[in-house]
């Protein structure tokens, strides 16, 4: 009754009863924008705190525990600090590009929110090319990093940006191919279709080997795409101090930082949607009782649960593995992941045509 879709519909009907359709649309868009920004801020705070607590747990220490109860307000305090800090622009920098770059990173992250289904029938825009849209828009991310690195006029930044460029462009291939595997099995690019196709079971269970391979490839590729350890060569603290955002400070740095975490959330949301059924509850064959119980858990809980599980996985990688070297990174993509993904796609296609999946 109190599902997101219900609230959204009520709101839509109420607005429609007052305004004409054009104004209704405008108001709804504004509301969606506000909601996305709110979600952004909330996610940023939660994910940063989560990262620090996960890191602390892995590293046998406590993590933030001073500000607020259990240190819950730590990231709020950090945000406040970043807001009041001066955003320096180096004198040798290309001022326009330098100042625009963090906003591009942010806008990309915001655009990617559009096709994500947060709960049952609750989606900003269920376009028919949803998955393609995600792949296309996420490519813009690299432009902001290249802009930031180039315009800083710092050699560390430039090297970080170049590394990042090579890395993101390469890993997009295997991320795209593993997404294609699911598209081939579903026969649709629309996010809602992909989720509905998993009503009888998530692709990770139905799809056998090809989907498992695609899932592993996807997780590796998106970890690389979001520049997180062990693929954090663009930042590579011990080599390039802070890589592409060496010269950034204050809120401009915070935007990059936030965009990184939002991107992690988004790729994990996409991963959860494609492989783990999005908001679909966990069902086992014809155990109707069990399935019924599962249906009682709200769809938004399912979605966020799966997404945060994947986020935890990616954080786990970060605090466990050492960093790769740039040539090893590119070798991994071009010599291993890409050929595997290509063969895997053929395998999945054959499986889809012959109907070997459940």
């Amino acid at each position: 009754m109190w599902s997101f879709s219900h609230i959204a519909n009520e709101l839509h009907e109420w607005l429609s009863s007052i305004f004409n359709p054009t104004w209704t649309l405008v108001i709804e868009m504004v509301l969606a924008g506000v909601a996305v920004i709110g979600l952004f801020a909330a996610l940023g705070l939660v994910l940063v705190l989560m990262e620090r607590r996960v890191a602390a747990w892995i590293q046998i220490r406590l993590g933030p525990n001073r500000v607020g109860p259990q240190g819950l307000l730590q990231s709020l305090a950090d945000t406040l600090k970043l807001i009041v800090k001066e955003g320096l622009t180096p004198s040798g920098a290309d001022k326009l590009l330098f100042n625009v770059a963090p906003f591009i990173a942010m806008i990309v992250a915001m655009l990617l929110m559009a096709p994500i289904a947060f709960a049952k029938d609750f989606q900003l825009w269920d376009m028919n090319i949803g998955v393609l849209y995600v792949s296309a828009v996420s490519s813009i991310m690299v432009i902001s990093i290249l802009m930031a690195g180039w315009s800083s006029n710092n050699k560390y930044s430039l090297m970080g940006a170049m590394r990042s460029g090579a890395q993101i462009v390469s890993y997009e291939l295997s991320a795209g191919l593993s997404i294609l595997t699911i598209v081939v099995l579903t026969g649709s690019l629309q996010v809602s279709d992909i989720i509905h196709a998993q009503a009888t079971g998530w692709w990770i269970f139905k799809g056998h080997l090809p989907v498992w391979i695609a899932f592993v490839t996807f997780i590796i590729a998106v970890t690389a795409e979001t520049n997180r350890a062990p693929f954090d060569l663009a930042e590579a603290e011990s080599e390039l101090t802070a890589g592409f955002h060496t010269e950034y400070s204050g809120m401009k740095f915070a935007l990059f930082f936030l965009a990184e975490y939002i991107n992690v959330f988004i790729v994990c949301a996409i991963g959860a949607t494609l492989f783990l059924g999005g908001w679909m509850p966990f069902h086992i064959g014809n155990w109707t009782q069990f399935n019924h119980v599962m249906d009682y858990i709200p769809s938004s809980i399912w979605f966020f649960g799966k997404t945060f599980f994947l986020i935890f996985l990616i954080m786990w990688f970060r605090w466990t593995f050492p960093r790769l070297r740039i040539d090893q990174l590119l070798n991994l993509e071009w010599k291993y992941l890409l050929p595997i993904s290509m063969i895997n796609l053929l395998l999945a296609t054959a499986m889809a045509i012959l109907g070997w999946h459940f």
Binding site: N153, N154, K155, M159, D232, E239, R323, Q328
Partner: protein
């Protein structure tokens, strides 16, 4: 006195032709840089990611300890040396104490000898623990640092109880040690040994066996035995290339010739060999501690020495094995209460000189790994 700006600025405009017109760019790593663990300044010439040249610029933490020691008495100067290689300060003190004793021809009581060796080996383990964590951090893995510190902290606690300090211990004095062991010392060391043995396998599980780690280390930074000798490398750096250089074995001091331990040698000469040397050395130190912890003889902890020490005219040289390699203390005495000239041959200085040789042609990321396996401590290099 400030450095002139002849060194290129990192934020100087980058042109496609590079800084030298041949596509090479010059970057400064340090003096403030996360990878240098201190204030080492490397000017690196890069072609893309490939290293063409590494040029160390030292002196950012040079305190002129050798000059200071010329005006300090033989009792005082030992305390300054704790600040050289601060991770093995016990062993620095030990070297100085031995050198002064050599001049005075003092016989150190057996109890003091055993205590000294125990403390040296505990220091060696603590130093290698810190190196292990810091090196993993250079490679981008942050977690090992905290795991290494768990064990290192318990060593520091033991030190604190007996010496009163955790980092710069100043425990060795000419003729013995400053005060007797804390009554809990043996118990605490045994607790540490127990903890250490229970946790040591985590090191291999977390880092050594990791495929990314092995790919980053194997075949990287090859140092041939001939070069290791020619560059004056010592300690784990030389032993990683198969050069037997353990002073404890070759020129034994104190009771090392009566102890059972192996000199750890690897022949590969790459970063991974140097890494394995240190890991295995920790095991050997544990062996030494186990042999001694139940056999600390009773007796004096300090030989009777005069209040004011005067070394006879002459030259005295003492070599010891610190966690980083061979430390030499060279005292020139004119017969007074202060040294006329003192020279510390620090292991880090020679080990650093090999960096340019092994780093050329490899990637920037490898440089960080190589610096990690050379285990550079900057105050040790600068003195």
């Amino acid at each position: 006195m400030y450095r002139e700006t002849s060194i290129l600025n990192d934020s100087s405009p980058v042109s496609p032709a590079g800084d030298d017109g041949a596509g090479n760019i010059t970057i400064n790593v340090g003096p403030q840089h996360p990878a240098t663990h201190g204030v080492l300044h490397l000017v690196i010439t890069l072609n893309g990611e490939t290293i063409k040249k590494v040029e160390p610029h030292l002196g950012y933490i040079h305190r002129s300890i050798e000059k200071m020691c010329e005006s300090l008495t033989y009792r005082q100067f030992i305390y300054v040396t704790s600040r050289m290689d601060y991770l093995s300060s016990h062993i620095n003190n030990h070297a100085c104490a031995l050198c002064v004793e050599k001049g005075l021809q003092v016989e150190v009581p057996p109890r003091a000898q055993v205590i000294r060796v125990l403390m040296d080996e505990l220091t060696r383990i603590a130093s290698h623990e810190l190196w292990w964590g810091a090196m993993a951090m250079d490679l981008g893995a942050f977690t090992p640092f905290f795991h290494a510190f768990r064990e290192r902290e318990s060593i520091n606690d033991i030190m604190e109880e007996t010496c009163g300090a955790r980092l710069t211990m100043n425990y060795m004095v000419p003729g013995g040690v400053m005060q007797d062991l804390h009554p809990d010392f043996q118990k605490r060391v045994k607790e540490f040994l127990h903890l250490y043995k229970r946790k040591i396998h985590e090191y291999d599980e977390l880092i050594t066996g990791n495929i990314i780690f092995q790919n980053r280390m194997k075949g990287i930074g090859y140092l041939s035995p001939e070069d290791a000798i020619s560059y004056g490398c010592s300690g784990p750096v030389a032993r990683g290339s198969g050069v037997s250089s353990d002073i404890r074995k070759i020129y034994p001091y104190e009771i090392y010739n009566k102890l059972e331990f192996d000199e750890v040698l690897e022949t590969a000469g790459d970063s991974f060999a140097r890494y394995m040397i240190r890991l295995r050395e920790m095991q050997q130190s544990i062996r030494i501690i186990e042999q001694l912890i139940d056999n600390i003889p009773d007796g004096d902890f300090q030989a009777k020495t005069k209040a004011v020490l005067k070394l006879p005219k002459g030259e005295f040289y003492q070599r010891v094995e610190t966690a980083r390699g061979e430390l030499g203390v060279y005292i020139v005495s004119e017969g007074g209460t202060t040294p006329y000239r003192i020279k510390f041959r620090s292991p880090g200085f020679s080990n650093l000189s090999v960096l340019d040789h092994i780093a050329r042609g490899s990637k920037l990321g490898d440089l960080v790994a190589m610096m990690g396996t050379l285990d550079l401590v900057i105050p040790d290099i600068d003195r």
